[in-house]
């Protein structure tokens, strides 16, 4: 087939800037072929190359005694003792989900699961962090339903329990929703598989589903802003098949157990191109591919299409040749494709043959190491103006404004559509501070949470970045877990705008400071830029996914308050209302500075809570919505009323950090107070659980009425 002529238009339509094209000419000394142009565009787009973010990502703390493998592989690997490791990552699928919510979200789940099992781990937990536009926006209901259904359809069929996540609504996501999917798996620490190829003349094997034309150019699409031609981009969204993914999981783990695998890489963004280049590049080898051998779902596919297809449920492997028959038998057992499509070669070359023609012949190492890297100009986000006068509101009305809004309402509408228990090791289901899953066959467990408060990040990127990590730390602590490590999914607008880049830089600095102080290094992550529609950016949303460990299930805090239990507040209250949930939901005010995070206090208070877990019946962290919302949620879950002594808005709804609310028996409360005396940790009795009404100072409302509002508001907003 005749390939198109290379024109300035064609180059631009591949997202390649003129200076980047010049760089290509300098590297290869001639005009690229059409297939080669496609390969460059796949490798050099923002999504695959991290060209705007790399400089700043390097500054993040990524090491620690618990870290086995930090960023750079498919997922991060962290020691959990007894020769085992947890492997996890979070990744965005924002643009595809906006174009086609069900498939976009489903393939986001599929992609992150593959990242985990490509390394030899069996997935044991999933989460997802979702940000949508206002419920009143005409697309929102459709997006929420489609995304939740897509996540459920994929995760439930694959068989991974979804144990946590977040859902928020804000007008800045009207034209650009966020779908951030997290997955974690368990492997033996000495049986982890990496993507570095080794050995010359080793067969390169294609595994899994067949290649079709779906998703051609998907990574390039994901690296562009949206405009009103968005509907035309539907064919760049891939279609997921969890049934194939489940078989691919089982076949891959069997294959890894057979000793046949030298290196393995999933085909995610930019498919065959990216996976082959990465394996060769890491092993200082070249790769030759003969595309005629690629299993194809459609007739007459071109080299360009095959190299850029993002068909799902595929992997690429470098095989020990003597194990070929054994490996092939495993894939045949699971009715999956197994095809030798090339080999490793000694020279630095990415050689693509199709129909006895050379379609691409490029220096392989230059495709990733010579990818452009930008030091984008940025301006520091100016300090927020002080919060002015706060409108008056009664405490009960304030609570109603929060629990009646879909961002703070009960989320069972969402999580009941996800199988949270498959695997029969789920100890804490969604709805608590963190999801907890037992490590199969052991008495230990892992806790999972995902957090960020985008309003804070916008007002103060540095403190907002810190806060996202601190909140994750607190959520893990509140179930009794020791935080271990972190994955970050950094969603921002157009990095070519200095103010957006300033948000990014500030947030990274804040995240870095917090993960260092709280000893939960970043081990994996993903960057999603250009989250803008018609020039309007999302709130900066650096989602933090974090994992903690419970050495024994005896350490778990997962109880509920009992009638008559005492409510105690751990940590100091200042009444910070700037950028609070209350102001945003009750008055539409997003003003003032974000609350500042005292990392030393976070650490101290977290250590105190874990050390005194035996004194507690129940615990939760305080986040947006403050004391009032946390106390209401804890009481409501137990079917109990609540009586808080305070009646003033700053005490009830202020969002000061480093705080927890706990429920204790009389003896427990005394023990906790005694323990606090020996430390600098403030512990204060703030009220009682029990009865059938919710009272803040002298204001009161029946629990049943509030509960009905809280449990009905989400469905009312999206149905």
């Amino acid at each position: 087939m005749q390939e198109p002529q290379i024109t300035a238009e064609l180059i631009a339509s591949h997202g390649i800037k003129p200076d980047e094209y010049q760089r290509i000419l300098d590297i290869i000394g001639r005009e690229p072929t059409f297939t080669e142009l496609g390969i460059f565009s796949a490798m050099w787009n923002e999504h695959c190359s991290y060209k705007s973010s790399k400089k700043w990502l390097r500054t993040l703390p990524t090491t620690g005694p618990q870290v086995i493998c930090g960023p750079g592989e498919n997922a991060g690997v962290v020691d959990i003792g007894d020769g085992q490791a947890v492997i996890f990552k979070m990744e965005s699928h924002n643009h595809p989900s906006y174009i086609e919510p069900h498939q976009g979200a489903a393939t986001g789940v599929g992609g992150i699961l593959r990242d985990v099992f490509t390394m030899g781990a069996r997935p044991i937990a999933a989460m997802n962090a979702l940000s949508f536009g206002l419920p009143s926006h005409p697309k929102t209901s459709h997006l929420v339903k489609g995304v939740v259904e897509g996540i459920g359809a994929y995760g439930n069929a694959f068989g991974v329990p979804t144990v946590g996540g977040e859902v928020r609504f804000h007008r800045s996501y009207n034209g650009n929703c966020l779908v951030n999917a997290f997955a974690a798996g368990i492997a033996d620490a000495d049986k982890i598989f990496y993507s570095v190829a080794s050995g010359v003349g080793m067969p390169v094997v294609y595994l899994g589903a067949k290649t079709g034309r779906d998703g051609v150019g998907g990574a390039t699409m994901a690296s562009a802003e949206f405009d009103d031609t968005i509907e035309e981009k539907r064919p760049t969204v891939q279609v997921g098949d969890p049934f194939t993914e489940k078989r691919l999981l089982e076949a891959s783990l069997e294959l890894m157990g057979s000793g046949a695998v030298i290196s393995i890489q999933d085909m995610g963004a930019a498919g065959l191109t990216c996976s082959a280049v990465e394996m060769g590049d890491k092993g200082n080898l070249g790769i030759k591919l003969i595309l005629d051998a690629v299993p194809q779902r459609e007739a007459a596919m071109t080299a360009y299409e095959m190299m850029l297809s993002e068909s799902q449920e595929r992997m690429l492997m470098v095989l020990k040749p003597e194990k070929e028959a054994e490996a092939r038998a495993i894939f045949e057992k699971w009715d999956l494709d197994f095809a030798i499509v090339g080999e490793t070669i000694p020279e630095d070359r990415f050689l693509i043959l199709h129909g006895n023609e050379v379609k691409a012949d490029l220096p392989l190492s230059k495709l990733s190491s010579s990818a452009p890297e930008y030091d984008r100009p940025w301006i520091e986000t100016p300090a927020a103006a002080p919060l002015g006068e706060v409108p008056a509101i009664g405490a009960i009305d304030a609570l109603k404004a929060l629990i009646g809004s879909p961002s703070y309402a009960h989320k069972s509408w969402v999580w009941e559509q996800y199988d949270s228990q498959v695997g029969a090791d789920t100890v804490v289901r969604p709805g608590m501070a963190a999801g907890v899953v037992r490590v199969h066959g052991t008495g230990k467990a892992l806790a999972f949470t995902s957090d960020v408060t985008p309003r804070y990040v916008k007002a103060n990127p540095f403190e907002g970045g810190k806060q996202a990590v601190a909140e994750a730390y607190r959520n893990l602590t509140a179930v009794g877990a020791l935080p271990l490590a972190t994955t970050d999914n950094l969603n921002f607008g157009n990095p070519e705008k200095p103010e957006i880049m300033g948000q990014f830089v500030g947030a990274i600095k804040g995240i870095g400071a917090a993960v260092a102080a709280l000893e939960m290094p970043i081990v994996s992550g993903n960057v999603s830029l250009y989250n803008e529609t018609d020039g309007s950016a999302i709130l900066p949303t650096p989602t933090i996914g974090a994992v903690g460990i419970l050495a024994s299930l005896d350490d778990l805090i997962a109880g509920q308050p009992a009638e008559g239990d005492i409510a105690l507040l751990i940590g100091e209250t200042f009444g910070h209302l700037g950028q609070s949930a209350l102001l945003a939901e009750a008055f539409g005010i997003e003003a003032g500075d974000a609350p500042h995070v005292d990392l030393a206090a976070e650490k101290r208070n977290g250590d105190f809570l874990r050390a005194n877990r035996k004194a507690l019946r129940a615990a939760t962290d305080l986040a947006d919505g403050g004391l009032a919302l946390a106390a209401f949620e804890m009481a409501e879950a137990a079917g109990l009323g609540l009586n808080l002594d305070a009646g003033d808005i700053p005490t009830l709804f202020g969002e000061d950090q480093a705080r927890y609310l706990v429920a204790c028996s009389a003896e427990g409360a005394a023990a906790l107070e005694a323990a606090a005396l020996a430390t600098d940790v403030p512990v204060l009795r703030v009220g009682r659980f029990g009865g059938t009404s919710v009272s803040f100072g002298s204001a009161s409302a029946p629990l049943a009425d509030l509960s009905a509002l809280y449990r009905g508001a989400f469905a009312a907003a999206v149905e």
């Binding site: 259904e149 069929a157 694959f158 049934f243 559509q417 029969a424």
Partner: protein
Amino acid sequence: MKAAVVTFPGSNCDRDLAVAFEKAGAEVVRVWHKDSALPQGVDIVGVPGGFSFGDYLRCGAIAAQSPIAAAIQAHASRGGYVIGICNGFQVLTEMRLLPGALMRNAGLKFICKPVELVVATTESDYTAGYAKGQRISVPVAHHDGNYTVDAETLARLQGEDRVAFRYGDNPNGSMGDIAGILSENRRVLGMMPHPERVVDPAHGGADGAVLFASLVGKMALA
């Protein structure tokens, strides 16, 4: 007692079911869908939950055509025990080992949550460990659990005391609030809720453990 747990491509509760049997003291053998015979000495076959063959065509329809299905059929016709949970229940109805069909949930959404079940009969080796009318908590996790059957068969199921479990608060629109049914000889049980997910205090409840313990206990006597 020897239990065979079947794995179809797409099964995802097979390990969980094996663990529940083992915890109750049974010996477990795993069986692949392409096997055409069951191992020697199998007392009960467990058909697990999941999405066999991706739920493509119709939930359970393709699995019911697997080589192992014929062996399960033969085992049942010899008076052998078979338990099908969730997708397993769907497979057993597709195999015609149990009457009726599992349609899409009335609310059209996947539902995963703990539900209250009422033990409708204790006249089976599966339910003998409970008290009649006992209310237990067992989770559901399905998209297609809406039990549907013709009026005549429904009357027969009820008349012959073959409803094993009813929902306390029907989550999916099932006729007669039916959550699980028995075969005529009371040795084949199909149920949508997942007893294997509540066999351990760490699960937050152990109401399902009674079913497995009862079964293993009865077979030890047999």
